[in-house]
C-alpha cells in the first residue's frame, strides 16, 4: 500500500531526517571526511547514494514513459498536427479553443461523469460490503475470494461480447425478458441514461471484486484486539464496521477511490466495444461518447493529433482536479468518523 497510516505513525519528528540515515551528525561530518581513506569515503557514498540508485530505475522508466509523453502531448497540442503528415503550423491555444467550442466535448464530459458516478459509486459501496462479508469466518475462504476476482480476469473484449448480448436493443436477453412480462423494450444503445447504466454495469462487473480484495486485505490488517475491546464495550457488528473498520482502512479506501476515479474518467474500452455504429464514437448521437473516446476519434478517425492532444490535456487536468477533490473529501470525512 503506498499510503502510510497516519494514526499509527509515531509522534515526534518525521523519520528520514539526516540524523536517522547519515550515521554522523551534520556538524562533524565535514572535518571528519578529510581524515577518511578513499575506501571509507566510497563506503560513505555507498550509504548515502545507493538507495537512490536502487530506486532510480523506476523513476528513469517513469520519466521515459510517463513524463515524456505528457510533455510531448502538451507540445503537440499547440500545433496543427496530422496523423499521417506530421507536424504542421504552430497554432497556439487554437486547438484548445476548438475543443472547448465543440459540443461533442461537453457531451462527452457529461457522459464520462455520468458513467463514472454510476460505476464508481456502487462499485465501492458493494466492494466494501463484499469485503466485510469476506472477513467473517467462512469455510474455504480462498475459494470465495478467488470467485470474487474472477470477472477481473476476463478480458474486456469478452465481457463486451457477453454484455452486448445481454443489452441488445432488439434481440438482447434483457429486452426479450421484458417482452415476456409485457414491458416495452429499453433502447440500451439509444437512450442516454440506459446506455450509461449498461456500460456502468459492465465496469462494475469487472472491478468490484478487484476493489473488494484490496479492501479485504486492509480489513485483515486491522488488529483483532480492537474488535475484542469493542465487543466488550458492547458495540454490535454494524457499529464495529462504522466506528472501527472504516476509520482503520481509510488510507486504503482513499487509494481505491482515487484509482477508480482515474479509471472511471479514462473509460474507453467498454463504451467503445458496446458501440454498434460504424464510426464507433459513442452512439449515433454520441449518447455514450466519453472524453477518451473523443481523444481517439480526433486522433485516429479524423487524424488530427493536435486536437487529440489538447483533449488529452483537458482530461488530464480534469482528473487531477478530481483526485485532489477526493483526497480532501476523504480527509475531511475521516476526521468526523
Amino acid at each position: 500500500m503506498p499510503f502510510t497510516r497516519p494514526r499509527t505513525r509515531p509522534p515526534g519528528p518525521r523519520p528520514g531526517g539526516a540524523a536517522a540515515t547519515g550515521g554522523s551528525p551534520a556538524g562533524t561530518r565535514a572535518p571528519a571526511r578529510t581524515g577518511l581513506t578513499w575506501r571509507q569515503r566510497l563506503s560513505w557514498l555507498d550509504v548515502r547514494l545507493s538507495p537512490y540508485l536502487y530506486i532510480s530505475p523506476f523513476f528513469l522508466v517513469f520519466l521515459l514513459i510517463g513524463i515524456f509523453p505528457l510533455a510531448y502531448t502538451a507540445y503537440v497540442s499547440f500545433f496543427d498536427w496530422s496523423l499521417i503528415g506530421g507536424q504542421g503550423e504552430y497554432v497556439g491555444l487554437q486547438n484548445y479553443r476548438d475543443v472547448l467550442g465543440n459540443p461533442y466535448f461537453w457531451k462527452s464530459v457529461v457522459n464520462t461523469l455520468s458513467i463514472f458516478v454510476l460505476s464508481s459509486g456502487p462499485q465501492i459501496v458493494i466492494a466494501l460490503v463484499v469485503a466485510a462479508l469476506l472477513t467473517t469466518y467462512l469455510r474455504v475462504p480462498t475459494f470465495w475470494r478467488m470467485s470474487v476476482l474472477l470477472p477481473f480476469v476476463v478480458a474486456p473484449a469478452a465481457t463486451a461480447i457477453i454484455f452486448g448480448n445481454v443489452f441488445g436493443d432488439r434481440y438482447g436477453l434483457i429486452n426479450q425478458g421484458l417482452d415476456l412480462i409485457g414491458l416495452g423494450p429499453i433502447q440500451w444503445h439509444v437512450d442516454r441514461l440506459a446506455s450509461h447504466l449498461a456500460i456502468a454495469s459492465m465496469v462494475n462487473w469487472r472491478w468490484t471484486g478487484y476493489n473488494a480484495l484490496i479492501l479485504l486485505a486492509a480489513m485483515q490488517a486491522v488488529p483483532r484486539d480492537l474488535y475484542e475491546a469493542a465487543e466488550i464495550d458492547g458495540a454490535g457488528k454494524v457499529r464495529q464496521f462504522w466506528s472501527l473498520t472504516l476509520p482503520m482502512i481509510r488510507p486504503t479506501l482513499l487509494f481505491v477511490i482515487v484509482t477508480s476515479t482515474i479509471g472511471g474518467l479514462q473509460i474507453f474500452a467498454e463504451p467503445r466495444l458496446f458501440d454498434n455504429t460504424p464510426a464507433h464514437n459513442g452512439g449515433s448521437d454520441r449518447q455514450f461518447s466519453t472524453v477518451t473516446m473523443l481523444v481517439y476519434d480526433y486522433g485516429w478517425r479524423l487524424r488530427e493529433l493536435g486536437l487529440a492532444s489538447a483533449t488529452s490535456w483537458l482530461l488530464f487536468l480534469m482528473i487531477v482536479a478530481f483526485a485532489i477533490l477526493n483526497f480532501v473529501l476523504v480527509r475531511r470525512a475521516g476526521r468526523h468518523l
Binding site: I84, N102, D169, R170, H189, V190, N276, T277, W300
Partner: protein
C-alpha cells in the same frame, strides 16, 4: 588493494559480458535480415495479407502455400473495413506494423491515393489491362502510379426472402420480382404493400444499406470533381429525404451490428441491396434459413457498391515478394476461386466470360444463376460516383445521421443539422 582489484575485475568482466551479449544480439539481427533479402534459400519469406469481412482468399492462399516454399502467405482477418481503416492509419503514422499486403475498401481508396507516397507503385507489364478500366482508374493516383490491385467489384442486385413474399401475397418468382422493383418508387411502394400484410417484418435490412445503394447512383454525392466538399446538393438532399421518409420500412438497425446480424435469423426483413460480396455475408448470417433468392434487378438501374483493392505499404521489408503475392491474389484465376467461395464478383476482364462465373448457380439462393445475374448487373452500371479524399469520412457521418433518425434519437431536421456541422469539422 588485492580485494579491490578483483572487484574491479569482476565489474569490468560483467560489463564486457553484457556488452558482448548486446553485440551478439545486433549481429544476430543483421545476419537474419541479410539472409532474408539475399539468397532466400534458407528461411521462407512470410508475406502477411490483412483483409476484412470476407474476401474469399482462403482457397488461393492455400493453393499458393502448397506450391511455394520460398514465399508463404499468411492472412490476417478483421471484421469490418472501419476497424481495418483505423488499424491502417495508426500504423501508417507509426511507420511500422502494417501487413505486407493490405486490403483497402473501394470507398477508402481515394484517401489512400492522397497518401500514395506511403505505398509501393505496383505498375507492371504483367498486369497491364487486367482490370475493367474504371476499376484500374480507381486504384491509380494523380501522378499515374498504380497503387492498388483491384480484387472485386460490387454490382448490386436484390436479395429477397421468397417465402416471406409469398406470405405477403407478393409474387415470389425471381423474374416477377425483378419486374416489380425497377425504380426506387416501385421499391418503396411494394414495401408499403408488404408492410401492410407483414407488420412484424421490415421491408429492408437497414436504412444505411439503402442510402448507400442510392448514393452509388449519384455522380457527385459529397464532393465536386475538384474535391471541394458540397453536401447541400439536391441529389444528396433527395437521398436523405427518401431514406429518412421511409424509416418505417427499415429494421432501423445499424448495418453490421449484432442486432442486424441476429435479424437474419429472426425473419427481421425481407429484402436487401446485395452487391456480389454481400452474397457470402447473407449466406453466412442466414445459415440454416430457407427462402433466400436473388433477383436480376436493382431499383434505379445499376449500381456498384464497394469492391476492394490490395495495396503494398512502402514500410514493408519485402516489397517485391508482396507485389508478387498481390498480383497472384488479384489474378483472374484467384478471383474466380474467391467468387466461387464468397460471391465476390471479379474485376478482372478475363474472368468475366469464364464459365466458372457465367454458369454459376447458388443452391442457397434457390439455385439462382448468380453469375449470370451479377454479370448483367455489372453491365447495367452507368454511374461511377466521384469519390474524393474525404469521401469515406463524410459517408461515415452521413450513415450516423441516418442512424439518428432510425433509432429515434433525432428528428430528421436536427440530424441533418448535426451532419452539416460534422462535415464542417472534416474540412
Amino acid at each position: 588493494m588485492q580485494h579491490r582489484n578483483s572487484r574491479a575485475l569482476a565489474l569490468s568482466a560483467a560489463l564486457a559480458l553484457s556488452l558482448g551479449t548486446l553485440a551478439a544480439c545486433g549481429s544476430d539481427d543483421g545476419g537474419s535480415s541479410s539472409g532474408d533479402g539475399g539468397s532466400g534459400t534458407t528461411e521462407p519469406v512470410t508475406i502477411s495479407v490483412a483483409t476484412f469481412n470476407e474476401f474469399g482468399l482462403e482457397g488461393p492462399i492455400e493453393a499458393w502455400n502448397a506450391e511455394h516454399d520460398d514465399i508463404k502467405i499468411e492472412q490476417k482477418k478483421v471484421g469490418t473495413w472501419d476497424e481495418a481503416k483505423e488499424n491502417l492509419y495508426t500504423k501508417l503514422a507509426a511507420g511500422s506494423g502494417l501487413s505486407d499486403v493490405e486490403a483497402i475498401e473501394g470507398d477508402g481508396m481515394p484517401a489512400i491515393l492522397a497518401e500514395s507516397d506511403a505505398f509501393v507503385d505496383l505498375a507492371s507489364d504483367d498486369v497491364e489491362g487486367r482490370w475493367l478500366d474504371w476499376k484500374q482508374a480507381a486504384g491509380t493516383d494523380a501522378d499515374g502510379r498504380l497503387i492498388g490491385y483491384g480484387t472485386d467489384i460490387g454490382p448490386e442486385g436484390i436479395c429477397y426472402r421468397a417465402d416471406l413474399f409469398e406470405k405477403a401475397g407478393l409474387p415470389s418468382d425471381r423474374d416477377e420480382v425483378a419486374g416489380l422493383l425497377g425504380t426506387w418508387d416501385d421499391y418503396f411502394a411494394t414495401g408499403q404493400q408488404f408492410a401492410a400484410k407483414m407488420p412484424k417484418t421490415a421491408w429492408y435490412d437497414s436504412s444505411g444499406g439503402v442510402a448507400q445503394a442510392m448514393l452509388n447512383q449519384v455522380a457527385n454525392p459529397f464532393e465536386g470533381d475538384d474535391n471541394t466538399i458540397n453536401v447541400e446538393n439536391p441529389e444528396l438532399e433527395n437521398v436523405w429525404a427518401t431514406v429518412t421518409g421511409n424509416v418505417d420500412l427499415s429494421t432501423r438497425l445499424p448495418q453490421w451490428s449484432d442486432d442486424w446480424t441476429a435479424a437474419f435469423q429472426n425473419n427481421g426483413f425481407a429484402t436487401m441491396a446485395c452487391p456480389g460480396w454481400m452474397l457470402g455475408v447473407v449466406e453466412g448470417n442466414a445459415s440454416g434459413v430457407k427462402g433466400w433468392d436473388f433477383a436480376n434487378v436493382f431499383p434505379g438501374g445499376g449500381g456498384n457498391w464497394g469492391g476492394s483493392f490490395l495495396v503494398v505499404p512502402a514500410q514493408t521489408e519485402h516489397p517485391e515478394e508482396a507485389q508478387q503475392v498481390a498480383a497472384y491474389l488479384t489474378s483472374p484465376e484467384s478471383q474466380l476461386m474467391a467468387y466461387a467461395d464468397k460471391g465476390t464478383f471479379p474485376s478482372q476482364v478475363d474472368a468475366l466470360d469464364d464459365d466458372a462465373l457465367t454458369q454459376d448457380v447458388r443452391p442457397f439462393f434457390n439455385d439462382a444463376p448468380v453469375g449470370e445475374i451479377l454479370a448483367e448487373r455489372a453491365a447495367a452500371i452507368t454511374v461511377q460516383p466521384y469519390k474524393g479524399p474525404k469521401y469515406s469520412d463524410i459517408l461515415q457521418a452521413f450513415q450516423a445521421a441516418i442512424l439518428r433518425v432510425d433509432d429515434g434519437s433525432n428528428t430528421p431536421e436536427q440530424s441533418w443539422k448535426t451532419f452539416l456541422s460534422d462535415v464542417d469539422q472534416l474540412s
